[in-house]
Amino acid sequence: MARTVLEASEIGEKARRDLLLLLEGVRGKKNLVIEKGLAGTLGLFVKFSTLQEYGVDKVFFLENDNVDSSQKNIVFLARSDNLNEVHAIASQIKRLRQSGQTEHEISIFWVPRRTLVSDQILEEEGALGDVNVSEYPLYFVPVAEDILSLELENSFRDLYLRKDPTCIFTAAKALMLLQQHHGLFPRITGKGNNAKRLADLLMRMRSELTASSDFRPSGAGYELTPSNTIESLIIIDREVDFPSALLTQLTYEGLVDECFGIESNQIEVDSSVVGTASNTTSQGSSSGPGSASQPLRKKIILDGTESLFKSIRDTNFAVVPQVLNSVARRLQNTYENRPTASKTTAELREFVSKLPSYQSEQTSLKLHTNIAEEIQKFTQSEIFTRILEVQQTVAEELDPTSQHDTIDELISRAISLPTVLRLLCLESTMCNGLRPRDLDAFKRAILHAYGPQHLLTLSRLEKMGLLSTRSGSAFTPAPLSKSGSGTNYSYVRKALHLYMREVNEAKPDDIAYVYSGPVPLSVRLVQCVLQKQYLASLSNKHPGATNAAASGATALSQGWRPFEEAVKQIKGATFDEVQRGEEKAVRAKQILNGSGSTEGKTVLVFYLGGISRAEVAALRFVGKRLVDEGRRRNLVICTTGMVSGNDMMKAAIAERDFGGR
């Protein structure tokens, strides 16, 4: 078993091997039927050509319901937690049985595991009989080299609307697998009720593992020692920090997400945007698979392999044009230097060998310039500035009610519903609800502007706790749950500095740059654990803030100390657990490894319910700062999926309307 530092590529490699192994298990040529949501995910680590090498003839989407009987073997690949999918598979199997003249051999691979429910449904539909069912344990998928995602697109809806804990279980399983690889997480710190549940689950799974390994004495002690590569796990529940996901993200990648919507590192844009830039090379772009009927859309893959994108993805959009400009100038210079440089053949050869890299750089430059232009069109519109204005005011909590007129106006101008809802939810979550009178007025306006079916939308938002009426006049948080209900923002804002007035966008000195002002609370929480001195120094600069934090803040204190007071004011349960192994084993390990230095250890940050791209950028920034402070850490971000405010709203919005269209 490899005991290296956690590496994303390694996990991706394993996922790939597992899939191919399963495919190999099915003999001969086969047709593969995948759930659409999974297809993108798989695309992150397997190429279609590789699948073909393993005998996959055609790939169908489960949703299209068009499997033909051209091959004898049919393989279904689907998530087991989605009941609709299971039903779809069952009915398709039945249809294949009836129509096909050839005898089909059907296998189903459940991702990530086989569940009792799915089995039962198949049995009821009479499809279980002679089907090969196996599991494909796909948990974490590397989205970038420092991000692992479960890619559960519905996790947000499941957790907060339907209160379905399945994805917590999946997350726990996934983390358990990591623990088995790398040893126990020495420390689990977290915030939020669901996060607590996840941690409890981890503890229980661990004791279960211990119990079962008692029967197999060999290699049992191994799993139980705390890891010496991973320092700690920080779990953050999305519920703790709705607002930062609701704000408009202002990093480049975040804005791309806001404008086009990134799915599994891919975006779809009009080919007019991309222009001819991408046709010359395959670098950074590939046309959508087999959809010749829609030539206008183009799929672009965005990931860290492209050096240019990597350098700008996390910067504030305000500086992106400058960066692009300077890169363009540099490229031009190298081209102009060409005649002087090519004196000797050796130099010429050197230049020519560099050409491809220049070319690819140029195409990616072109691509991003075009995208940036498109985004600029969007950000320079009047509506966008109005929206930002509202957000900034609310986040600063100057006087949110003064923005109500603006919101009203935006509603009557029929801007998109998710945007409006985001603004309202932002205000509601930050100020512990809206005044009943205001809320009713907004509700009426929304129903008028977007249709009566959104009565459902609104009630769902209320259920998720995103939209609420303020109970009472003062800050008495609404009784949502027993332990630590609402977040007291006015307090936390001061204690943790959630709004930075001066933001240096070009040379960021604080994570506030990702939203140009407001600071994502969730990332501040991570800083509470990792960057205590920095936060404490902030408190000193601002004399109005609590000074208690500054006194006890040393790099040595662990867990939430000394920020317990502030953290307590935030919604949800707080916990901090230390996992110890057997005393003897620990000591043996310490002798082996010398004194445990924290140099270069990995810290896992797990976002339950999704993370927004701007927060990723902020976390990366925190990681960089830790290096600057001489305390190198590997920040690895784990999440159930990427979210943006629009995704959150989409979870609530009622799709259907009157008129039956």
Binding site: E409, D440, L447, P452, L455, L456, R656
Partner: protein
């Protein structure tokens, strides 16, 4: 609340299922969910009006929201009707002007725009 959700889901089928909504409304009356009851009531009126409009102005109105209905009415030049819808649902003056403005622009009716 759940019952009301169901009612909404079923109504999608067509406007004829208004009766279902009525039932839902009766259930609402008992509780203090006056706001929701009012909304459902409004929805019914909207559907009826839209039905009436469709009879003389052509299809494509059911399923629209209040604002969209006004927008469309202005667009096809039925300002009076639009104003009636406005008063019926107490759409604030300000947003009504916005809607009218947008509608006229999309119609490229610059003359009437100037008259405003």
């Amino acid at each position: 609340n759940l019952l009301f959700d169901e009612a909404l889901a079923q109504k999608v089928l067509s406007a004829r299922l208004e009766k279902l909504k009525l039932a839902a409304k009766l259930l609402q009356d008992s509780k203090e969910n006056t706001f929701q009851a009012k909304c459902i009531d409004e929805t019914q009126r909207l559907l009826k009006i839209q039905d009436a409009i469709e009879k003389d102005a052509g299809p494509g109105f059911t399923g629209l929201s209040v604002n969209e209905t006004i927008f469309k009415l202005v667009r096809i030049g039925q300002l009076k009707r639009a104003q009636r819808v406005q008063s019926e649902f107490k759409v604030p003056e300000k947003s009504f002007w916005w809607i009218r403005l947008r509608a006229l622009v999309s119609k490229r009716d610059w003359i009437e725009l100037e008259e405003m």
